[in-house]
Amino acid sequence: MAIENIQVLRASIKKRKLWDQVFVVIAFISLFFGFAILMGLMTQLFLQGATRLNWSFLTSPPSPRAEEAGILVASVGTATVMLVTMVLAVPIGISSGIYLQEYAKKGWLSDVIEINVANLAGVPSIVYGLLALGLFKQQLQLGESIITAALTLSLLILPVVIVTTREALKAIPQTLREGAYAIGTSRWQMVWDHVLPASAGGILTGIIVGLSRAIGEAAPLITIGALTFITSLPDSPIKGEFPFISFSWLKSDFTVLPIQMFDWVSRPQPAFQLNAGAAGIVLVLLTVIMNGAAIYLRIYFRNRIKW
């Protein structure tokens, strides 16, 4: 090749590599902005709330006096609502995902269902609140109770669980299904014994991501009329007399952390703003723990199974 051609070639390579560098700079600035703003918010939250974050804050019921108020009732509310939400949404969501991916005949009907489920995942949460207000509270007369809240939030996260279950199942190579069928499994044995365990990481991740969305929701629960100020805990699930287990707590009034925060933020006294910050820290930590668990599970299962 002639020397001048090589010069042209090098100039062209240099020009193209310049764009590499330009893009890296743009990408870095974008990343920095996102990260810096997030860090700023977190720092402000921590500075504001850290002073109030102590044991008595975690274990006290709310109070009209800011320095005596705590998040006990809201934490118990969040925990119970999340538990019932999980119990409701997980079996239904996983079953639906399995049906759509492994059983349903592929055709226009399954396409329509698929598109609908994907869209439902993007519906604003307050719309679910309106639906729940009409259906669970007014039609079924369930009140502003834990069960109403859990039903509402399980509707909210059901599409997320269905979609991630389907995606996790889709990622399983067809060779595993054929290998199972080839030794004589029924379809259910193929799904239950092989495909589900192999996709457990993805499905668990979906459940946790769904729950960590639900844990921060205030809007749909305010729509159904959840109380903002409540000082009593739900009924105990364990009773002294036969049958020793009671489900009356499902019908108890409740509040959750985001609603508690919302209540404090909307008060004029600055002392309550500190409480809101402290509750915010707890909520952020819970979400971080849940997402961390999701990432850990994904890595754990990915390392265990290599295709």
């Binding site: 290998g179 199972a180 004589g184 044995q189 092989h194 265990r304 290599k306």
Partner: protein, 259 residues
């Protein structure tokens, strides 16, 4: 060609007038084939000739997918396994399969083999242990894995994984095993060990194998069917197909002039 079971008793399996369609496209045309008991029968031919389609008809794998249909009969002894009233699960419990790429279950080595026994209703641990060992020995894998039977199957090498898949198929004592290019994803050393294994296995089980590798067919098979464009062009003893084929296309293919 008749499909009378009385006349097929010398054969383990017999394909009769088998046509296969992917949608409107005909992939197999009027296939007739006899598979002799406890011998290795190889299907060879260029890509797209329908040999894998034919193999997968033997354990009704096509039933798992929409958009195909087939007519004709495949007799396994006195049962037409394509019969509408025959459950594909029953067929798959009698005819095992080993795939192109090793596909062990993402479970332990032991569990890979024990699973097929469990779904056949064997629950006694000592019986399962015995049969797992027998299958691993049968697949020439026992010496390599006896001390780590509870390790994940994916910790094995590719060749070992394929022998594990053979052990998995063997453990349930099938009457016939289908091999779909079982060594195409393996290195030459692993390939030789799988081939040696198949020669050993044919003492107890009928083998039907699809292979791209003509040398492999000459090394291990007793009978060879040459397929081209969805038809069986020639079917005979392997040495006849490779040394003395009657059909010109067969001669051209086995001498490497096309394919």
């Amino acid at each position: 060609m008749t499909s009378n079971p009385e006349q097929t008793k010398n054969f383990k399996a017999e394909v009769s007038n088998f046509d296969f369609f992917y949608g409107p496209k005909q992939a197999l045309k009027g296939v007739n084939l006899q598979v002799e008991d406890r011998k290795i029968t190889a299907l060879i031919g260029p890509s797209g000739c329908g040999k894998t389609t034919l193999l997968r008809a033997f354990n009704r794998m096509h039933d798992l997918y929409p958009g195909n249909h087939y007519t004709g009969e495949i007799w396994l002894e006195s049962l037409n396994i394509l019969g509408k009233n025959v459950d594909p699960i029953e067929v798959r419990m009698r005819i095992g399969m080993v795939f192109q790429k090793p596909n062990p279950f993402p479970k332990s080595i032991y569990e890979n083999i024990a699973y097929g026994l469990r779904i056949r209703g064997i629950t006694k641990t000592n019986v399962i242990n015995e049969k797992v060992e027998k299958a691993l020995r049968g697949a020439a894998l026992w010496e390599e894995v006896k001390d780590r039977r509870h390790d994940m199957a994916f910790s094995l090498s590719g060749g070992q994984q394929q022998r594990l898949c053979i052990a998995r198929a063997l453990a349930t004592e099938p009457e016939m095993i289908l091999f779909d290019e079982p060594t195409s994803a393996l290195d030459p050393i692993s390939t030789i060990s799988i081939e040696e294994l198949m020669k050993e296995l044919k003492k107890q089980v009928t083998i039907l194998i699809v292979t791209h590798n003509m040398q492999q067919a000459t090394r291990i098979s007793d009978y060879t069917a040459f397929m081209y464009l969805g038809e069986i062009i020639e079917f005979d003893r392997t040495e006849v197909i490779f040394k003395n084929a009657a059909n010109k296309q067969t001669r051209d293919y086995v001498s490497g002039q096309f394919g």
